[in-house]
C-alpha cells in the first residue's frame, strides 16, 4: 500500500505525503467475504478499520431482532471509538453484499506513532472529531 491510497480518506486529510507514508507502514490489509461479521457489539477491540473497497453494514443486535443503522462505503472509517475510549464496541459490523477490502490499524501502533509525531496525532484526532460530527449529523437526518 502506498500513501496515495490513504490521501482520499477523510480521516487522514491534511497530512503530508511523509506522514501518510508513516501511517501506511502501520496499516494492514484485510478482506472480508460478503456478509462476514467483522466487529461484534459489546466485545472489546483495538482496531480501527478503513474501507478502501466495497461496503459494510453497521447494525445493532437486540434481543429479538437487529437494526441496520447505516451502510458505510469507500473511504469510511469504523471501529474508531476504540481509539478514543477503549470501551466495548457500540455496534456490530459485517461486510456488505459484495464483501469489502479494508485497512486495519491497531490502536497501540497508532498511539505509538502519535507519541513519536504529535502533529500526526493532532491532525488525525481533529479529523476523527469531524468524522463523528458527520455521523451524528447523518444520524439526526436519518431519524427525521
Amino acid at each position: 500500500m502506498d500513501h496515495k491510497s490513504l490521501a482520499s480518506v477523510p480521516l487522514f486529510a491534511g497530512l503530508t505525503a511523509g506522514s501518510l507514508t508513516q501511517l501506511a507502514a502501520i496499516c494492514q490489509e484485510q478482506t472480508a467475504a460478503p456478509h462476514k461479521q467483522i466487529i461484534t457489539q459489546n466485545t472489546t477491540g483495538e482496531e480501527v478499520f478503513i474501507i478502501f473497497n466495497g461496503s459494510v453494514e453497521v447494525f445493532i443486535e437486540g434481543l429479538e431482532q437487529e437494526r441496520v443503522l447505516v451502510v458505510l462505503g469507500k473511504g469510511q472509517v469504523f471501529g474508531e471509538m476504540a481509539l478514543i475510549d477503549q470501551g466495548y464496541r457500540s455496534a456490530s459490523v459485517r461486510a456488505g453484499k459484495q464483501g469489502c477490502a479494508l485497512y486495519l490499524i491497531h490502536s497501540q501502533a497508532f498511539n505509538a506513532l502519535c507519541q513519536s509525531n504529535s502533529h500526526i496525532g493532532y491532525i488525525v484526532m481533529r479529523n476523527l472529531a469531524r468524522d463523528l460530527a458527520f455521523k451524528l449529523r447523518h444520524q439526526n437526518l436519518a431519524q427525521m
Binding site: S8, V9, P10, A13, G14, S55, E57, V68, L69, V70, V71, L72, G73, K74, G75, Q76, G96, K97, Q98, R130, A133, F134, K135, R137, H138, L141, A142, M144
Partner: protein, 71 residues
C-alpha cells in the same frame, strides 16, 4: 463546492425502508444522479451541504429514493 476533490456524502433514503449510508464520491453528487449503496440503486432527489468543506474534502447530504436492485 467546486474546489473539493473528494466528497464525503451522507445518503438518507426516503420512506425509511433502507438505512442510508455514508460513502466517498470522486464527483459532486447532483439531483437526478443514481447512486448504488450495497447493491441497491437510488436516485438523488436533494443535495445540501452538511458541514463546511475542509481541505480537499466537501461534506454533503443527499436525500434519495429507491429505484431498483443493482445488476
Amino acid at each position: 463546492m467546486s474546489q473539493a476533490v473528494y466528497y464525503k456524502v451522507s445518503f438518507v433514503v426516503e420512506g425509511g425502508k433502507f438505512p442510508g449510508g455514508i460513502i466517498n464520491c470522486d464527483q459532486e453528487p447532483l439531483v437526478g444522479d443514481e447512486v448504488t449503496l450495497d447493491g441497491h440503486v437510488f436516485i438523488i432527489t436533494e443535495v445540501m451541504e452538511l458541514m463546511p468543506p475542509s481541505g480537499d474534502f466537501g461534506f454533503l447530504h443527499a436525500t434519495c429514493r429507491y429505484v431498483r436492485e443493482a445488476a
